[in-house]
Symmetry: C2
Subunit: 480 residues, 2 copies
């Protein structure tokens, strides 16, 4: 008991130390009162007192008679911390995302901000035929024989696909979920309790921010590496300095930026996870959407100690309506099924049956090959057009995976303002604020390039570009 509470106050002291080191709490800032700190952190008063005393003894904070505790003035703030790793408090991203998703649902909107690939491209007549046949069978369509962990046949097929990719897998390693978001959420819930620290990329799928907010977690972020996509130094520094329990990372066809991290870096990530005994929730929903010869590996491939929970789904290759995903994690299989049975219960029985039959045919691989070609073609077409018409002050990030283009706007153009202006023209884009906390520059947007470049979409792209130019000029005219 004593040991446990000693550990607790050390942890709290460490957390506060990093708020100071990172510059979040500046010199001579007054610390929260003991009571306020105890209330907001959930620690006991005694733990808070011990933590403050430890910090005082170490010179991080000082006391003023009858007034309280203050941050010391003579601290060397490590430039590494101020520039790279950041602690994010008071996350509030839900209402933004909610508003955005609602806009995308409206009629006659050009959904360049959508996360879903174009339906006609995903649409596979063989799959739909199989689905249609299963719909007539009561055991497929109406029963629940695919309750957690999900259809054994489907798990067998997934296991052999993993094994073929060098990740030796048994059906028991896999839990089928209602899409990838369900897999990711259940994994995070199984691994954490409120107040735990998790690590995210600073620019990431908003679902990760939402989950962190909902579960009451502290979020440490690391920036993207300008060249490699993933900054291993920042990553190691975060693991070394913060009590991180879980990372949630996207390394293949990153949403929203689009990069795919090299296999060498993934190996290093796996080694660091093992060294620091930290779990990784690997969001790999775009794993099949690569356009070069070799399929990119996952960190799971390098993980021989079961620290990685690998999550993916069929939604990005067969349609968002499929809503069948999975998580690959033997040690947490039971915990995840527990949580699943009291929330999302199970993925669609009908879809699971149909997937088993479809993935077993040669039509599946053929579908993937054709989908890759079409998505790559559309992405390149968008890129060429945008390269031509965007002002030179913009930068387009082009990678050979996925179907997003991440575009850096002129520094004085706020993508949230751009977003608002374009809504009036029935065009929805995804501004960077959806993927980042609001302390970062806002001059980025994500465009979905999976749709065939029809005339209306072409016109929409021209409108986006004109609007960017207008905002850039206005900002210039304001003298900023």
């Amino acid at each position: 008991m004593m040991l446990r509470s000693m550990y607790k106050f050390r942890q709290l002291a460490k957390n506060i130390q990093f708020l100071i080191e990172s510059g979040s709490w500046p010199a001579h800032k007054k610390l929260p009162s003991l009571r306020a700190q105890a209330q907001s952190s959930g620690y006991s008063l005694m733990t808070v007192l011990n933590a403050y005393q430890e910090l005082e003894a170490k010179g991080w904070i000082y006391t003023k008679q009858k007034s309280g505790y203050y941050v010391s003035g003579d601290i060397n703030i490590s430039p590494e911390h101020t520039n790279k790793v950041a602690l994010n408090t008071n996350i509030e991203i839900n209402s933004l995302v909610f508003d955005h998703l609602k806009r995308l649902q409206q009629d006659h909107v050009i959904p360049l901000g959508s996360a879903f690939p174009s339906v006609p491209l995903l649409c596979n007549t063989h799959f739909m035929k199989i689905l249609s046949q299963h719909a007539k069978l009561p055991n497929s369509s109406l029963s629940t024989d695919s309750m957690p962990p999900g259809s054994l046949h489907l798990r067998q097929i997934l296991a052999s696909r993993y094994s073929l990719n060098g990740i030796s897998t048994q059906p028991e390693d896999i839990v089928i979920t209602s899409g990838a978001l369900d897999a990711l959420n259940l994994s995070l819930q199984a691994l954490t309790k409120p107040g735990d620290f998790i690590l995210l990329q600073q620019t990431i799928f908003y679902g990760a921010w939402q989950a962190a907010e909902r579960l009451g977690l502290n979020v440490i972020t690391i920036p993207e590496h300008p060249e490699h996509g993933f900054d291993v130094n920042a990553f190691e520094s975060a693991l070394k300095n913060y009590p991180i329990k879980v990372c949630w990372l996207m390394l293949n066809a990153h949403n929203p930026i689009g990069f795919t991290v090299s296999n060498e870096i993934k190996l290093v990530i796996a080694e660091l996870l093992h060294r620091y005994k930290v779990y990784l929730i690997e969001d790999d929903v775009y794993q099949e959407l690569f356009y070069e010869k070799q399929k990119p590996l996952s960190v799971k491939y390098f993980d021989k100690e079961n620290y990685v929970l690998h999550c993916s789904s069929f939604s990005k290759i067969l349609g968002a309506g499929v809503r069948v995903g999975w998580v690959h994690s033997r040690p947490f299989s039971n915990a995840i099924q527990h949580l699943q049975l009291m929330s999302t219960v199970s993925a669609s029985n009908l879809m699971q049956h149909a997937l088993v039959d479809f993935i077993g045919t040669h039509h599946y691989e053929k579908h993937l090959r054709q989908l890759r070609l079409k998505l790559q073609k559309n992405k390149n077409t968008y890129y060429k057009l945008l390269k031509e018409i965007l002002p030179k002050s913009c930068k387009i990030y082009l990678y050979a995976t996925g179907y997003f283009l991440w575009i850096q706007l002129p520094i004085n153009v706020d993508s949230t303002v751009l977003y608002q202006h374009l809504l009036d023209k029935k065009i929805v884009i995804a501004p960077s604020i959806l993927f980042q906390q609001d302390n970062l520059p806002r001059n980025y947007i994500r465009l979905n390039c999976s749709f065939n470049l029809t005339e209306p979409i072409k016109r929409a792209l021209y409108t986006v570009v004109e609007m960017i130019k207008m905002l850039e000029q206005n900002a210039g005219a304001d003298g900023s």
Copy 2:
């Protein structure tokens, strides 16, 4: 700020007072220390101190020098509290339920403990044909045009069905969810935060216990009324004496007991909700499974002030694989959609499209009529057989709704032991511990009577009865 914290300590004092009144904290029991209480309750030390001082001033507790606070010895414990309303702490029902659901999934098991109706009875060829047709249409099967709040057509149909039943409803009042459990969970999550008090029936669908456990809620329970099913006096006493925010009740074809509460009592419930300003999550999944002429009303029918969130689904009438439910609550529609978009995302697009077409035909009403007849017939057949072969010391609860029989075993027979013994014989029943906290007598089981009474099921029922007799005799022989 001051007001708020005054209110807080009054609330804590009230909660402790009821622990004492209810006999949970007996005379001369030592109270948790101020610090321990602050830590476990999440209240500040000051709030706890104020609450203890208030309780001391009122004579509920006393202090001993240097030792702490103790429960007073001369308190009149209200018999109403000891017998009826109960505060439930440390809820732990998940692993039991998980084990139970896993057993039901095993091959060659007689699933008398299942909550799902027999698949062949639900199976409707017209519905499956429509489903099969929609499966071929990309916009039905693969797209996501039914994102929250769900298909407009489906919400229109549901709204007119409500209106026909006297509950004037607009499509905007309804959010489509992934089954009823999703509707119930989202509703509870939208209405509460950890530490809030909710009210449940003491015997209730385990999903309610699981949700309370997961969300960190305090649960007040009221007992069933032996005659009317619902005890309005206990209900009012609970609302009057506890800071209850939300009730979660099942009043039609109650799971597991089976009773349906009269319309008169539902009216009183609605009036009490309005008087005490308490929300009701009304679990009405069995609303269509009534066997007398008149469809029972819901509390929602009597709720003119929007205090009721009415939840139901198609799973119990068309198949558990359908996984389409809904919640009817205009004021919380947005909050529920928020939570939905970051967790379960949306109910199956394909199923929503197919339901729209099916419910529009006369086949739907015909299906309901036939289903009712078949379920009623099977239930009566089971009842007649069991009435004949069960020992006289058992009591069967028979009601004209739903497909469960709730059976009271001899007082010395523990249904959990019966459950374990029957597992060896590949028979799964539902013991009362799945639906209640473990301070209640365990001599009850729930049987699912929706399956046609085939020879194997008949044999299983005989085995259940033999086992009950054996356990009764053994207990008698032990001298208990």
